[in-house]
């Protein structure tokens, strides 16, 4: 039985369909929300480039194609194919050329090979 995690160089997006999009979208902000910033749903594809946060433990993260599911000034929700771990930091490269630095807060498995992750931006937008 193998025990060490071997990193894949690049993880592509899992197959996306309407049902998956519907299930993984967070609810948009309501006036009654106690959120700091309003949240807007989106579905833009981006590239997630890791900083080797847990390299000291022998773990190396992979670059991933991710789908941006929603966005606020404080953070973002991502849909992707490889698990991310709390505390990991990444650079999110948008197609517009803008890069954002973010930190993983939580990650849940939605289906085999499909994960949804909540992140905070290192600097508020």
């Amino acid at each position: 039985m193998s025990t060490m995690t071997t990193a894949v160089q690049h993880i592509p997006l899992p197959p996306i369909n309407d049902e998956l999009l519907l299930q993984t979208a967070g609810s948009e902000s309501q006036w009654s929300d106690s959120r700091r910033f309003p949240r807007k749903n989106t579905s833009g594809q981006c590239l997630l480039v890791p900083e080797s946060t847990y390299l000291a433990s022998g773990y190396r993260s992979s670059t991933q194609d991710v789908l941006l599911r929603n966005l606020s000034r404080g953070g973002a929700r991502l849909l992707h194919g490889g698990e991310l771990f709390p505390g990991e930091t990444f650079e999110l490269k948008l197609r517009t050329g803008v890069s954002l630095r973010l930190k993983v807060v939580w990650c849940r498995r939605h289906a085999p090979g499909v994960y949804v992750t909540g992140c905070h931006f290192s600097e508020q937008l």
């Binding site: 433990s57 849940r108 994960y115």
Partner: protein, 327 residues
Amino acid sequence: MISSFVDSPVHFKTPTAPGRQRYLAVPVAILLGLPKLRCDLYMQHAISTEKILYRSHQIDLPIAADDHLLNGNVRHLFLRVEDEHLYEAAVQNTLAASPVDPGLLLTLSIEHRRTAFQAALISNSVAPLVEACGQLAQELMPAIQQDDFCVSKVVGLLTHDHCTFQHSCNVAIYSSALAKRAGIDNPELELLATGGLLHDIGKRHIPGFILRKPGKLTQRERELVRNHPKSGFLELGSLGKLNWNQLMMVYQHHEWLNGGGYPVGNAGEEIHLWARICAIADVFDALTANRPYRQSGYTDQALQIMNDEAGHFDSELLQLWNEVVKR
């Protein structure tokens, strides 16, 4: 302090009234292995919270000669806090004398390290705790590595209290025994034992009254409890002293093989092997421990429950665990 204060159900953080005599609870299983302990031992009064003298320090007989202890259901005796150094010295002397029965060696090692562990547990920094766990894991190895190491005998010896320390020790021992059966050997085995000792470190941030609550948890309390793998992972991950296998034990030990666990809901091989081992050890100890929210169980019943909930565990590892316990 070598053992937890138990003049109330709450442990060492409990303030005590000025002038009131304080006692340490010591497991009978340990006392039976100590050839000579020159201090007064007390028992819990059946009705009141008072302690009554069970045995004077003037009695010059090994404790194992007391039939009452061997035959009865007494699990703990008490000694005065000021006699703690005598108890500690007796434990160290017994550890130094070899050969010792593997089960007793384990329990003595745990007692020997309890002071350092408890001190590290209440310190703000997690680094001393990791160091204490590494040392304890190293001391546990000689007993676990012995050919005649037998889990079914150890289960009776290991004490259970409400404190996460003892649970962590038990999980480390059970995890190591299962890992050894699965073909993992030193130096990996020692690292795995360290991971087992640290697997619940995130519970440091949960208030004690929630950990000991016998009834149903509220939504908020449940969220706090379910957050402990993540908070432990974050704390240890940022320290940079544990390898990824150990970190996965901390982060994934509540994941179920069928995807029904937390914090991620991973399934099958997505759960790290060491975490799958830790999950079996964790549940086995929970089922056999005398916890406030569950009556004492027996190993056969515990195994039966685990086998019935097979979707939670790696079936191959669970089969090995059945073999290890029934050996």
